[in-house]
């Protein structure tokens, strides 16, 4: 039986981070994963991550995955794939199903980082082919290069629904509607705004009544719900779609740690049944630690830090480092984790509707209840100024943990400050060079460059653009507003791409001056095709 100092179960963001941390202290580490490829869900994440530099902000998820793998490999971590851990027994022995054999391995410490699984909601027809998890859609398109469908309805307005919805557009699918039973958008406003301005209609306070089709989905019926979540029959609407995606939360995959005998609790805030663990990732079983979604559903950035914490804990448990070194490293990691766990979407604020931001600005309710901000909301936040000449307009109106824009500006026009959940503000005293680094660095794609003095009677609007085909200079199309409504005809006057922009192209369009603060998206193609 092969032995290791540490066995990590799960090669996702937390598992790999845990292995890296522990290997740095000299532990002999093996990571087992049931999948063909390591990285967990990271390789499906094509968007730029939030947070700050220390959290790998503005780097796309799949690149973070590649970095983690390279680091683990360099440290001599053994990653064993196609290996399903089926049991965790006394004295830290595990059974692993590899091909058709059951193999035994043993370690002196274990980190369980098994992640989470998608939730589902049953509705009439939900078992039809064509109804799938949002994660399934993401796997098909971003890992295997297959569109899950051509015309899709997304259920769920949390970050997963919003992000996957946007990725569906990037893959060339049509998004017929985004539906959520809640009256407000569950995820970040910036993610919702990206979909809204591209013309995706939001149906909040709506639910799916039934999926239609004999052999597979051919349509879906949705309806409004009243304050008691009951369907209002007269409000039924029908969409012809071939796919329905569900993004209705995640549940920790705690089966392994549960069967190992760890003390468990049911904690709705953590997403369901989770092992009871402390800040060091310790469970009730000595030498067995947990990290990432299995310990409580959050997101990949915090999962990576939790992985590092569990790695330090395992190293200290086995005596590879002393108590002092452990505590010192833990404190750094904890502070990094705390930064991510603040703001409007933090655990403690989940479900609450704040009346103001941390700075005292009245909440942008249109963003929260419609999925896009109004011009009035944008104008009263500190990311918009009345500068002459080209200047940044930052439509980031919620306290979310993210700050790459602050660093992106070489002229220090953008300020967030120490607390990364603070709203970005634009300093009117400083002069914007129009370089566009802030536009490309904003993971939420919420920064635009506006120049009201572009030409006589015309303004220019520069926006982030991550779709193909990339419009060409001189191309005529529609300028869409934040709700996806066409506001005027427009011409593309500049297209900037650069390796430093990392696939976020900067598209500049020319619009009449009075449309400078409403035009936020470009739609090329046939004019009469715009209905919305």
């Amino acid at each position: 039986m092969k032995r290791y100092d540490l066995i990590v179960v799960g090669a996702g963001p937390s598992g790999l981070s845990a292995a890296i941390e522990a290997a740095k202290y000299g532990l002999n580490v093996a990571v087992f994963d049931e999948n063909t490829r390591p990285g967990g869900q990271l390789f499906k994440q094509v968007h730029k991550f939030f947070g700050s530099k220390e959290h790998k902000a503005k780097i796309r998820g799949f690149q973070i995955g590649q970095d983690l793998l390279a680091e683990a490999k360099a440290l001599g971590v053994e990653v064993i794939l196609n290996a399903t851990v089926t049991g965790l027994f006394q004295d830290k022995e595990i059974t692993v199903k590899i091909a058709d054999a059951i193999c035994h391995y043993k370690a002196d410490s274990i980190i369980v980082a098994t992640g989470a699984a998608e939730n589902t909601v049953p509705f009439a027809g939900w078992t039809l082919p064509g109804v799938m998890g949002a994660g399934a859609a993401q796997t098909l398109m971003n890992l295997h290069g297959i569109k899950p469908g051509n015309k899709i309805l997304m259920l769920g307005s949390g970050n997963v629904g919003l992000v996957v919805g946007y990725q569906l557009l990037q893959a060339g699918c049509e998004l017929a509607a985004l539906v959520d039973a809640s009256p407000k958008v569950g995820g970040y406003g910036v993610h919702a705004a990206k979909l809204a301005r591209a013309g995706v209609p939001f149906f909040l306070s709506h639910t799916i009544v039934q999926a239609k089709g004999n052999d597979h989905v051919t349509g879906v019926e949705i309806a409004q719900v009243d304050e008691n979540w009951k369907v209002i029959p007269a409000s039924k609407k029908y969409f012809e779609v071939d796919t329905i995606c569900m993004a209705v939360g995640l549940s920790p995959m705690a089966q392994l740690i549960n069967m190992a005998g760890a003390k468990m609790e049911t904690n709705p805030q953590k997403g369901g049944c989770v092992p009871i663990s402390n800040a060091y990732g310790e469970t009730s079983l000595a030498g067995v630690f947990v990290a990432g979604d299995v310990a409580g559903v959050e997101e990949a950035s915090s999962a990576m830090i939790e992985g590092h914490i569990a790695g330090v804990s395992a190293a200290a448990y086995l005596g590879f480092i002393g108590k002092e070194e452990q505590i010192s490293r833990y404190k750094d990691l904890e502070s990094s984790l705390c930064k991510l766990r603040q703001g409007m979407f933090s655990l403690e604020n989940r479900g609450k509707v704040p009346s103001t931001t941390e700075e005292g600005y009245a909440t942008a309710n249109n963003l929260l209840y419609q999925g896009f901000c109004t011009e009035e909301e944008v104008l009263r936040f500190p990311g918009t100024t009345k500068q002459v000449g080209v200047h940044a307009v930052i439509e980031c109106l919620q306290n979310i943990p993210c700050n790459p824009c602050q660093e992106a500006c070489a002229r220090h026009c953008i300020k967030i400050g120490e607390k990364i959940t603070s709203l970005p503000s634009v300093d009117e005293e400083k002069t914007c060079s129009g370089c566009g680094m802030c536009v490309a660095s904003c993971s939420g794609q919420a920064i635009f460059l506006v120049d009201e003095s572009y030409a006589d009677g015309y303004a220019s609007v520069t926006m982030p653009y991550e779709f193909l085909p990339l419009p060409q200079v001189g191309e005529i199309g529609w300028a869409l507003d934040r709700s996806g409504e066409a506001v005027c005809k427009t011409e593309v006057v500049q297209v900037k791409t650069s390796p430093v922009f990392d696939h976020t192209n900067l598209l500049t369009i020319k619009v009449p001056v009075d449309k400078a603060m409403s035009a936020r998206f470009f739609k090329g193609g046939v004019f009469h095709a715009i209905h919305k």
Binding site: N35, V46, E118, T127, G130, G133, A137, P148, Q170, H216
Partner: protein, 112 residues
């Protein structure tokens, strides 16, 4: 309409194995070696992977990561194979499943 993403704005081209032939219910199809069977089937426009024994209800891809077992089919004579995590191999014989057998091999009266 092709379901394959030819050029992705972020990911560019997808790395694929070589193009190989395989069979679904004796129909010759093409897919890329190493990609999940389910992906190759979706690209070929096949959505129904199996029918349940009790209600003959059609099932297809649901989780795409090997968790839910909704997408199982008979592959090379073996039933209940999760197509979403099974790599495509040249010449593979894939069959629509009914209950726990190949649908095409079910006798009259066995089908609901």
């Amino acid at each position: 309409m092709t379901m394959r993403i030819e050029n992705h704005p972020i990911l560019g081209d997808f790395e694929k194995g070589r193009l190989v032939k395989f069979y679904c219910d004796n129909r010759e199809l093409q897919g890329y070696e190493g990609e999940p069977v389910a992906a190759a089937l979706r690209a070929a426009g096949i959505l129904v992977h199996r029918h349940t024994k009790k209600n003959a209800a059609p099932r297809g891809i649901f989780c795409a990561i090997g968790r839910c077992t909704d997408c199982v089919m008979v592959i090379d004579g073996k039933a209940n194979i999760r197509t979403c995590v099974t790599p495509l191999v040249e010449g593979m014989q894939v069959q629509t499943q009914y209950g726990t057998a190949a649908k095409s091999e079910c006798k009259q009266g066995e089908l609901a």
